[in-house]
């Protein structure tokens, strides 16, 4: 294509292009704000659960079964309580306070999400960077392992592994990390492979840098924006997988206040008490969207190439 034509094309689309860019920038800022708010709320709930939660999340009360959320509760006399707002989001089929369970569930979700993301990132970045940086047989072996990993349906594999390791918090964290490290490994390998052939690597080598120092000081900072995004995504994925495991009653022992346990219970009583399932589902959706928005926005601000 000649330069004249491409110029005219650029001009033809130019007006819309910059407007779109400006809108994209504004939306990214909005998503950042939304992400901060969602993650802030989640962290607050997780850290201060005992002080925020109005009730003990595991305390059942057979006189308060399936009580609707406060604004729908017009039968105070029947339940024998003074104010509906004592149980703002209603109660479940055992009379446990939905709001308190939601808040304590955030704590567990946060523990699982952050631990898994750290473990998976550590393993994935190490193996992916080694494979991408050295190539050859190291790359072959690691890539083959990743291939085998990707040939399992991930949900099925996690269910099998949890059935094997037992349903404790630690085993759930280990299982999700063991399954998801490939996500980091693949991305980091591809990125390092690309960076390896750049001039600045040769320059660092001539300056006398060792492999390890080049990898850590030169290559990894360039991979960082992508890693941050992936890290936030992974927290969301880990929280979802924990919910899924609870849903098939294989996570942290049943009855504990987890979103997955609430959802599984809510699915059973959905025709009598929809709110038992609706609130944890809503919390999970907002959490995932918040983490995604945060990851995307941070990448946008951290990556100078993308911002241009």
């Amino acid at each position: 294509m000649s330069s004249v034509e491409s110029f005219s094309l650029e001009k033809g689309r130019g007006g819309g292009g910059t407007g779109l860019e400006r809108s994209t920038e504004r939306i990214t800022l909005l998503r950042m704000v939304f992400g901060c708010a969602a993650i802030g709320a989640l962290l607050t709930a997780a850290l201060f659960a005992p002080w925020i939660a109005p009730h003990d999340p595991t305390l059942d009360d057979l006189f308060l079964i399936n009580m609707p959320p406060a604004w729908l509760n017009d039968d105070l006399a029947y339940f024998g309580i003074e104010s509906a707002w004592a149980y703002p989001l209603g109660t479940d089929s055992l009379g446990r306070d939905v709001a308190s369970r939601l808040i304590y569930g955030a704590r567990l979700a946060m523990i699982v999400g952050v631990s898994v993301a750290c473990l998976a990132a550590l393993a994935g970045v190490t193996l992916g960077a080694l494979a991408g940086f050295y190539g050859g047989w190291i790359d072959n072996v690691i890539s083959r392992i990743v291939d085998v990993w990707l040939s399992f349906p991930p949900v099925l594999l996690s269910i099998i592994l949890v059935a094997m390791l037992g349903t404790t918090l630690t085993s759930v964290i280990i299982v999700v990390a063991v399954i998801d490290w490939t996500r980091f490994a693949r991305v980091v390998r591809a990125d390092v492979l690309q960076q390896r052939s750049r001039d600045y690597i040769d320059a660092a080598r001539i300056a006398g840098g060792s492999d390890l120092s080049i990898l850590i000081r030169e290559v990894l900072p360039n991979v960082l924006p992508l890693l941050v995004t992936l890290f936030f995504f992974e927290i969301g994925i880990a929280i979802t997988v924990e919910t899924i495991l609870s849903f098939v009653s294989l996570s942290v022992s049943s009855g504990a206040a987890t979103w997955g346990d609430m959802i599984a219970e809510g699915r059973r009583v959905i025709n009598e008490a929809w709110w038992v399932m609706a609130f944890p589902v809503g919390a999970l959706v907002i959490t995932i969207l918040g983490l995604n928005a945060m990851g995307d926005a941070l990448r946008f601000y951290l990556d100078p190439v993308l911002r241009k």
Binding site: V148, S151, F152, L156, T243, V248, A278, V285
Partner: protein, 334 residues
């Protein structure tokens, strides 16, 4: 020819790796299938007999060799839970899963096609942003959550819509094959088809939404790129409308890279059936797999995992080949 041999070799190598990993993992699972089959108060002798029957009295490597030899003859052993050959159970339930996957892919394709053509045709910032936003939303929320959202919405607002099973259990299904949807369509039993589709549409939509978003992103980009080419200018000077150019000229060129780039995402959709089937009580191999794990039905789990692995590997290979075919520059590179 040599490349074909290498490809086939690598399929077998990966499958072998998968089978070793799953075999070892399953042998380490606490809880033993024999205890689940025994009636209370069974003698040690009965127990030993059953262990011998299912080959569980031998060492793990010996068990693996026996199992592998049988698999070579397509014999995956007996399910301890159903007391039927694993192969029979898989063949019986695979059609339900395949129909769900097919419907979900069609829904994903249709949605992606409609939205990307709309965005490129309108060429309005607000529409582009709205469609990007929708795609982002559809992709960020996993299929498991979409399914829950649909179940909630149906319960609250459309209680007549079925959210469990493949058909109304009160009606008899007199089909020759297990492909109910396809068979009713091919034999023009429209009423039966509509009834079956009502059961299938929600699980298929939950499965298909994330894929629809993935395809939309790629297809929209490819269409935009195609619309900036010289032949579009030529068509414009001939006086063709923008929609005609998008559908007639750009789409054809955008299709191949889109299929090549998104076909690999089909594996996510197929992996998703495990949970979606469980959530909607869909009688496919996914929900069977979960019940097999819960009931420690080792032969059945091994069989189903291998079937999934084979499907995943074939899709990955096909998508590599498509990618290679779509981009002539890659053809010479090995």
């Amino acid at each position: 020819m040599a490349r074909l041999l290498v490809t086939i070799g690598s399929i077998f190598l990966t499958l072998l790796g998968v089978s070793v990993v799953i075999f070892v993992i399953l042998r380490l699972v606490p809880g033993d299938p024999i205890s689940m089959m025994l009636p209370p108060g069974a003698t040690d002798e009965v127990r030993a007999n059953l262990e011998r029957l299912y080959g569980l009295d031998k060492s793990i490597p010996a068990q693996y060799v026996i199992w592998l030899r049988n698999v070579a003859w397509l014999d995956f052993g007996m399910s301890t839970q159903f007391r039927l050959p694993v192969m029979e159970i898989i063949l019986d339930r695979l059609p339900a899963t395949l129909e769900l996957v097919l419907l979900a892919s069609l829904i994903a394709l249709a949605l992606a096609f409609a939205f990307s053509v709309l965005a490129v045709w309108l060429q309005v910032d607000s529409a582009t942003l709205a469609i990007d936003g929708l795609a982002g939303l559809a992709q960020a929320i996993p299929d498991f959550l979409w399914a829950l959202i649909f179940i909630l919405a149906v319960t609250l607002f459309a209680p007549m819509m079925p959210i469990s099973g493949r058909f109304d259990p009160r009606t008899a299904q007199d089909f020759a094959t297990n492909f109910y949807l396809l068979e009713s369509l091919v034999t023009f039993r429209i009423d039966a088809f509509a009834e079956l589709a009502r059961y299938a549409v929600l699980p298929a939509l939950a499965l298909g939404l994330p894929l629809a978003a993935g395809i939309t992103r790629v297809l929209k980009g490819a269409l935009e790129e195609a619309m900036a080419q010289d032949y579009v200018m030529l068509a414009q000077t001939k006086g063709k409308s923008r929609l005609a150019i998008v559908l007639g000229e750009a789409l054809r060129n955008a299709m191949i890279p889109t299929i090549a780039l998104t076909s690999v995402q089909l594996t996510f959709l197929i992996g998703g059936t495990v949970l979606i089937e469980r959530q909607f009580s869909w009688p496919g191999i996914g929900s069977t797999a979960i019940s097999a794990v819960i009931n420690r039905d080792l032969p059945l789990i091994q069989g189903i995992v291998l079937v999934f692995a084979l499907i995943f590997i074939l899709i990955n290979l096909a998508s590599n080949e498509l990618y290679r075919a779509a981009d002539p520059r890659l053809r010479t590179v090995r």
